[in-house]
């Protein structure tokens, strides 16, 4: 591992810790008052919380990367190539580790449904990455659009958190329903993500090439 990538690896593990911590909080919120017989069902919801927590962390950090981390690493002597690939490595790492953790929990609990749910979980994570990065790019050029996108994201997050606070098991059912519905459109979602990823990577590469450092 080259020196230029150590920063990104460090942030990879920090993001995963944030995702796991957020998942733990959400899990505890929905787990309050659950009887022993319902524990297995509640545990099956854990991968959703993990993916949601990591997606939120990814979205925010990918957004921040364009504003803070790129200028920071360039100021410390990183090449733009290292910053680009480091950012990619970071995102791929968070998605891979979160997906594997989710898979490890889902396998013993819901092995039958796993191939319906798992692609959606991965897709949500991937969308979190590209959306966060595209928001960061938009914020740099058109602050208003960036802020608007950020507000929409926070409104959605606020809605989810409200479900956890008041919904209990209902939140889990809604999640199951939502993911099952999304599962039907996984191919379309995949194509949409691919297109957004191509746009994001092209714009990120272009922005990095012209990036001026200001701390």
């Amino acid at each position: 591992m080259g020196r230029g990538y150590r920063f990104w690896v460090r942030y990879l593990w920090q993001t995963i810790s944030v995702g796991v911590a957020a998942a733990a909080v959400m899990f505890l919120l929905t787990g309050v008052g659950v009887s022993w017989s319902q524990v297995a069902g509640t545990l099956a919801g854990l991968p959703y919380y993990l993916v949601l927590g990591s997606t939120l962390a990814l979205t925010l950090i990918c957004f921040t990367t364009h504003l803070v981390y790129f200028p920071l690493v360039l100021a410390l002597g990183s090449t733009r190539r290292e910053a680009f690939w480091g950012f990619l490595l970071y995102r791929a790492g968070v998605v891979a580790v979160t997906a594997l953790l989710s898979l490890a929990i889902l396998l013993p609990l819901a092995a039958g449904e796993i191939w319906q749910v798992f692609p959606v979980l991965v897709l949500v994570l991937l969308f979190g990455c590209t959306l966060g990065s595209l928001m960061g790019l938009a914020y740099q050029k058109l602050k208003f659009i960036g802020i608007l996108m950020l507000m929409v994201i926070f409104a959605i997050v606020g809605g989810f958190v409200s479900f956890f606070l008041v919904g209990g098991n209902a939140a889990e059912e809604i999640f199951d329903g939502l993911f099952a519905a999304l599962g039907r459109y996984v191919v379309v979602g995949g194509i949409l993500w691919l297109l957004s990823a191509v746009l994001d990577l092209s714009l990120t590469s272009l922005a990095l090439r012209h990036r001026e450092v200001k701390l």
């Binding site: 020196r3 920063f7 504003l67 803070v68 410390l76 002597g77 990183s78 090439r209 001026e212 701390l215």
Partner: protein
């Protein structure tokens, strides 16, 4: 090892912030880059270290372009002024975290030196950068610059916000490091007179152009301030390089640079005084500079 820029241009809109600058920085020297606000100093330094892209021109280290070149960047450190005012930016980073990140990128990072400097400056490593005073932020940039051990180390306004005791301490540390390692330092500063004794070479920049690159002592030794009645002054400096003059009623003062062998013409009722680097700078870059 030489850091060379040739015909460097940086354009913002229709304005050339750096205007066809060519410069050679040699190893084992302390350079001072001085210029007024907006002269293009930070822009030039940013391009020399590949932190900002150039509009045109080239920057090479030992013949290799520095842009996107890991090998070249390993020898360069540009410890820029930290402007941290927002919780969301770099300001939310703790001092120790910032130093750790710096250690990732500089291959010759001296962790022991960084630790000693942190102790010497009494830097609160657990504090966020945004909680530090301007002086303490300057100290952080000094720690990064010195501990980087980069062959070419550039400091942008390193003494901004430091009190006179800390400024003395900084120059002492700089000279110790220079004597021990022979690294090249480029210091951009506004506090000229204090730095004059430390700077071996001085680069004067004005409106995006390099006015002069000279040995500091030779430049100061060649400069004279000639004053007296306007007609006497004009006659005494005739044929010499006058870079600045001011008239007050019938009196006149002129700053001249004497080339080897030249002297103020004798026989006129004028006062000739040596001047310091700051006065040289004002003469070259002030409002009435010729």
């Amino acid at each position: 090892m030489k850091l060379i820029c040739s015909d460097l241009v940086k354009t913002y809109g229709h304005k050339n912030a750096v205007d066809h600058v060519s410069l050679t920085l040699e190893q084992g020297k302390i350079y001072g880059l001085i210029g007024r606000n907006g002269a293009g100093k930070t822009t030039l330094l940013s391009m020399l270290t590949a932190q900002n892209p150039v509009t045109s021109g080239t920057v090479t280290l030992d013949g290799e372009p520095v842009w996107e070149n890991r090998r070249a960047l390993d020898h360069l450190c540009f410890s820029r002024e930290l402007n941290v005012s927002q919780e969301s930016g770099v300001g939310s980073m703790k001092v120790k975290e910032y130093l750790r990140l710096a250690s990732y990128y500089y291959p010759d990072w001296d962790g022991e030196l960084a630790r000693r400097l942190v102790e010497l400056f009494e830097l609160p490593v657990k504090k966020k950068l945004m909680k530090l005073s301007k002086g303490m932020l300057s100290m952080v940039t000094i720690v990064v610059a010195l501990a980087s051990k980069a062959a070419f180390t550039i400091l942008d306004e390193p003494v901004a916000g430091l009190d006179v005791v800390m400024r003395e301490k900084f120059y002492k540390l700089l000279l110790e490091e220079y004597a021990a390692t022979g690294r090249t330092f480029v210091i951009s500063t506004h506090i000229i007179e204090e730095a004059a004794d430390v700077l071996e070479e001085v680069i004067i920049m004005h409106q995006g152009k390099i006015l002069t690159v000279a040995n500091t002592q030779e430049l100061v030794d060649s400069a004279r301030y000639v004053s007296g009645r306007a007609e006497d002054v004009d006659a005494a400096v005739e044929g010499l390089t006058v870079c600045h003059s001011e008239t007050m009623g019938r009196s006149k003062g002129a700053t001249v640079f004497l080339k080897p062998g030249e002297q103020i013409r004798p026989g006129y009722d004028v006062t000739v005084q040596p001047i310091n680097l700051q006065k040289v700078f004002v003469a070259m870059c002030g409002e009435e500079a010729h």
